[in-house]
């Protein structure tokens, strides 16, 4: 084990595309950083901003959100609604002084296992560069 800082990242992946893409990365024996803890959601439109805030509060260093490409949504347009919400969420984080770069959005299809591996690796590097201190993270039970 190297002693470099390994960020913990929560990934919200849509069931129909991105999660399948992550699966493909695995079955293709691609190397994907182990920093990502995946939460499978039915659709990127299901992601309530609360999930992301809560992940940051509980100490995640970054949050990755991934859904089907625009136009490919299993529920027709859930990802397009998600885009609007997430756009505002990014700005809200910026307004309260939390780096919006800690949130990474990407559209990823079931066939893009290789790109999944790259996206995760790049995001992990980016969060590592941002540093250990996610300002929203709680420090203890009473903080």
């Amino acid at each position: 084990m190297s002693d470099r800082y390994e960020p913990r990242i929560v990934g919200f992946l849509c069931n129909w595309c991105s999660y399948a893409g992550a699966d493909l990365a695995g079955t293709s024996r691609l190397k994907v950083p182990a920093n990502l803890r995946v939460v499978r959601v039915p659709c990127s439109g299901r992601i309530n901003p609360l999930f992301i805030f809560k992940a940051l509060e509980e100490g995640a260093d970054g949050v990755m959100v991934s859904g089907c490409h625009p136009g490919d949504c299993h529920y027709i347009s859930g990802n397009r609604y998600a885009k609007r919400k997430l756009a505002v969420l990014r700005r809200l984080l910026d307004w309260v002084g939390i780096e919006p770069e800690r949130i990474h959005f990407t559209w990823l299809s079931a066939s893009e296992g290789a790109r999944y591996a790259v996206e995760v690796a790049e995001f992990v590097d980016k969060v590592r560069a941002l540093g250990r201190h996610n300002p929203m993270a709680r420090q203890g039970v009473a903080s």
Binding site: E58, G59, R138, G140, V141, A142, S143
Partner: protein
């Protein structure tokens, strides 16, 4: 008329520091530990002094998740000796009511008791503000009955008088200044239209009166009145946890919240806003005096009037309610 004792600010501060830690209201009107005696505003601070005795968030115990029972660590009562400076008579009187709940012989709250025993209440007489109504309850802005020492500010210091044997003993430790004759206690203010406290029984008898619902429209049950009330004591018990560390907490709660009385199955006896408004008024002006003759659930501090976002006025409401009850009683007679 007894004499008071003239104290300089410096000698009082030195004697209080000698005794231990010092608490006082800060600029935001919250109670915090201070090094020196602060300059106080003319009236009561924003937060009542109950915060020091029954804090909004009090730990009962903590433990590590998955740990055995031996690892339950009870919170230790704060036994720091010290004094609270700047207690107003309305807040001090409210503590007498909290004593009924937290010092009842069958279940003494050790945290409350430790604070009550260790903290000397140093009252400071106030210049009543526009919404101060201690006069309604028969005391005034320099009332010394519920504090240990009552100070009346004057240039460069205070005139002190003891309100309790404990206060008397403390005053004996301060380098004595000149004795000055005390002015007569000032009467407390009350609304010019106020005619007297309601009869608890009459209020209770009108539990089902439609006026509660009429009043309900001008109340949104935000509960600000209860949070800043010096006598409100309701709480809930819940756990908070973070990464396996769990705290059992006693958390301030209030009867205005819609889920205060909601039971696990969903049944809620106080479903509508008006019933919660009624609960607050009746608890303060009917239930408490019925349970504890001679005590009222209100000390006239007027914070609820000051802070109500909808500018409701507790005393005006109570007055109107009583007026209607009396009018109807007369009509029947």
């Amino acid at each position: 008329m007894a004499d008071g004792m003239r104290l300089s600010r410096e000698s009082l501060q030195a004697a209080l520091r000698q005794r231990g830690a010092l608490w006082a209201p800060n600029d935001a009107g919250h109670w915090s530990q201070v090094e020196a005696l602060p300059e106080l505003g003319p009236i009561r601070p924003r937060r009542p002094v109950k915060d020091l005795f029954t804090p909004p968030r009090r730990e009962i115990a903590r433990w590590k998740a998955g740990a055995g029972p031996a690892e339950i660590e009870p919170a230790q009562p704060d036994q720091t000796p010290g004094s609270v400076f700047g207690v107003r008579p309305c807040d001090a009187r409210a503590l007498l009511l909290l004593d009924r709940a937290f010092l009842q012989p069958s279940c003494v709250d050790p945290h409350y008791k430790a604070r009550r025993e260790n903290l000397l209440l140093i009252g400071v007489a106030c210049q009543p503000g526009p919404n101060c109504y201690c006069g309604v309850f028969g005391f005034g802005p320099d009332d010394k009955d519920a504090v240990d020492v009552m100070l009346t500010p004057e240039a460069g210091g205070f005139v002190a008088q003891a309100g309790s044997p404990r206060g008397q003993a403390f005053l004996a430790t301060v380098p004595a200044g000149a004795a000055v004759p005390l002015a007569a206690p000032r009467p407390g203010p009350q609304p010019e239209w106020w005619t007297g406290l309601p009869d608890p029984k009459a209020l209770y008898a009108n539990f089902d009166h439609p006026m509660w619902h009429e009043l309900g429209i001008s109340c949104m049950n935000c509960g600000v009145c209860t949070q800043y009330c010096p006598t409100c004591q309701c709480f809930t018990i819940d756990d908070e946890s973070f990464k396996g560390e769990i705290q059992r907490l006693r958390i301030v709660d209030n009867c205005q919240r819609s889920d205060f009385t909601r039971m696990a199955g969903g049944h809620n006896p106080r479903q509508v806003a008006a019933s919660r408004l009624r609960q607050r008024v009746l608890h303060k002006f009917s239930y408490i005096p019925t349970q504890n003759p001679g005590l009222l659930g209100c000390t006239g501090c007027g914070r609820c009037v000051d802070l109500c976002p909808l500018d409701r006025h507790l005393f005006a409401d109570v007055f109107e309610i009583m007026k209607r009850i009396n009018q109807e009683a007369e009509r029947v007679a």
